[in-house]
């Protein structure tokens, strides 16, 4: 399950920005899909995103990652941005947010 950030933090803003990254096959953003595990924000220095994919074989993996990098670079030009892809814990449908589940007609 994706972390919930306080609304006045940079992590919250970044999390909201990442909702602009849509999985082109599923049509749902990566935050609601539960793919973003961790956001590390260091003021005036760097942003680190720890995320996964719904499967290691996902054919659109690097499109999603490059989309994450471009979206963050637009608002944080002077920051070093890194996306770390992890496979532990393995993604499962329970990680999808209530909004994502609604979009998937999960209920």
């Amino acid at each position: 399950m994706a972390k919930i950030y306080e609304s006045n933090t940079e992590e919250y803003k970044i999390n909201e920005m990442l909702k602009g990254v849509i999985d082109p096959e599923i049509g749902i953003n990566i935050v609601d899909l539960g793919l973003v595990y961790k956001i590390d924000y260091i003021e005036n220095k760097s942003i680190g995103i720890e995320m996964t994919l719904s499967t290691p074989a996902c054919p659109l993996g690097d499109v999603i990652i490059s989309n994450v990098e471009h979206i963050l670079k637009r608002s944080y030009q002077d920051y070093s941005i890194s996306v770390n892809l992890v496979w532990e814990p393995e993604w499962n449908p329970e990680m999808v947010s209530p909004e994502g589940k609604e979009a998937l007609n999960f209920f």
Partner: protein, 429 residues
């Protein structure tokens, strides 16, 4: 980057021509079918039926399998294709071989006109197998999907070699037994060994991926691998050498293996996070259901080897067509729209993603036409099956007309995707 398959994908020029040629072949197949429904009521060993079958198996099905497999190998085996050049040579040789073979069958030229494409196609499949084997050799993560694909490569070589021997036998008779036995082996090993194994290998990876289903019982796939291989091996040995007439044993092994695969896909369907099925997945669901038709027909034929010839011939035709035009065509008609738009979209928009607003892969084709295609296809296949099995000629003709309409819709969408251009304003933004 670890675990990413887009970077390992081949250049689109390797893959896309296969989709274009396959789409045209499907249209040709459906039009030829309109003029061949009379022949379908007779014996399967007729020039026009042979031509029709090979437009379907080579021009339509194998062509799209080659194209899709070059794209999907990096997904399944997680390594890039060994040689893109070899794949391009195979494409042109397959086009040439298919056209010449269909020409030879249609005009009943069982002489040098048959021998030339037989040689070309043997070379094509040997080259294709080498390419896939050398690709598989590089993989670190060997899994059951890889084994299923390798089994299909083995059985296509057997199929093509038997086909090659049949064509040589026309030139100089050397088969000691009836050549129709070898035709039976050629057809069944090709359909079950080549097509079913490949569909099981690729489908077991892709379908759960599209449905977002996890934690599936992969032992079902292992069972399918061993049972179908054992069944095919027994079928080959019995029909070619033992003459025990024990097709029922092969049937039990193969059908139980296929049941394992169907059960795996059903489990994936039940555990899916993505509850809404798009048209691509609906076509796939229809396809899996239609697999039951040839299984039932094969059971009926295996249990009644002494059936009246008139019924044996009719069941044989319906058996082959329920697989080629039913199960496999439905699968292709759906899965094309789960793969081709992504291949084209990636080649056009990969560098623009995140920088400008890009369309989604599904925006590259008309969903409305795809919807009409889905329902028209279901009507066409119902008409064809009832027409063929019941010997009702006008229904079979009506079914083939509707199938041509389906092929036209499919072609419009395929060429719409293939000719998609990035709009200037998208680049400027």
């Amino acid at each position: 980057m670890q675990g990413i398959s887009t970077q390992r994908a081949p250049h689109p020029s390797v893959v896309l021509p296969h989709f274009a040629f396959a789409a045209i072949s499907f249209l040709v197949l459906s039009i030829v079918l309109i003029f061949s429904t009379n022949e379908l009521a007779g014996h399967f060993f007729q020039p026009r039926i042979l031509a029709l079958t090979h437009i379907a198996t080579l021009g339509w099905i194998t062509m799209i399998i080659f194209g899709a497999l070059y794209q999907l190998i990096p997904v399944v085996l997680e390594v890039p294709l060994y040689s893109e050049k070899l794949a391009k040579i195979c494409f042109w040789l397959l086009v040439t071989g298919t056209i010449l073979l269909v020409h030879a069958f249609w005009f009943a030229k069982f002489d040098v006109w048959l021998l030339i494409p037989a040689h070309i196609l043997l070379i094509v499949f040997i080259m294709f197998s080498i390419n896939i084997l050398l690709t598989a050799k590089k993989t670190i993560k060997w899994n059951i999907e890889s084994s299923l694909i390798m089994a299909s490569v083995f059985w296509i070589l057997v199929t093509v070699f038997v086909g090659f021997l049949i064509s040589m036998n026309f030139h100089r008779v050397f088969f000691k037994n009836n050549h129709l036995v070898w035709l039976k082996i050629h057809a069944n090993v090709g359909i079950i060994g080549w097509l079913f194994f490949l569909i099981m290998g690729v489908g077991s990876k892709l379908i759960p991926m599209f449905l977002l289903s996890h934690k599936l019982n992969r032992k079902k796939l292992q069972f399918a691998f061993y049972a179908v291989n054992a069944g095919l091996l027994f079928f080959f040995i019995d029909n070619a050498y033992l003459y025990l007439n024990l097709d029922i044993v092969s049937f039990i092994l193969i059908a139980s293996g296929l049941a394992g695969f169907i059960s795996y896909i059903y489990e994936s369907y039940k555990k899916r996070a993505r509850k809404n099925l798009d048209i691509g997945l609906k076509h796939t669901a229809v396809s899996i259901l239609m697999l039951l038709v040839p299984i039932v027909l094969a059971l009926v034929m295996s249990l009644n080897p002494e059936m009246e010839m008139k019924y044996i011939l009719r069941l044989n035709i319906v058996y082959v067509f329920s697989i080629l035009l039913g199960f496999i065509t439905s699968l292709i008609l759906g899965q094309t729209f789960k793969t081709l738009p992504f291949i084209v979209w990636l080649s056009k928009y990969q560098s623009l993603v995140g920088k400008v607003k890009t369309p989604l892969p599904k925006d590259l084709y008309s969903e409305k036409l795809l919807n009409i295609q889905f329902w028209s296809y279901n009507i066409s296949i119902a008409l064809l099956f009832v027409g063929l099995i019941g010997g009702i000629h006008y229904l079979a003709v009506a079914g083939s007309y509707v199938l041509s309409f389906v092929a036209i819709l499919y072609n419009i969408n395929i060429f719409k995707i293939l000719m998609h251009k990035v709009k200037k304003e998208e680049i400027k933004n």
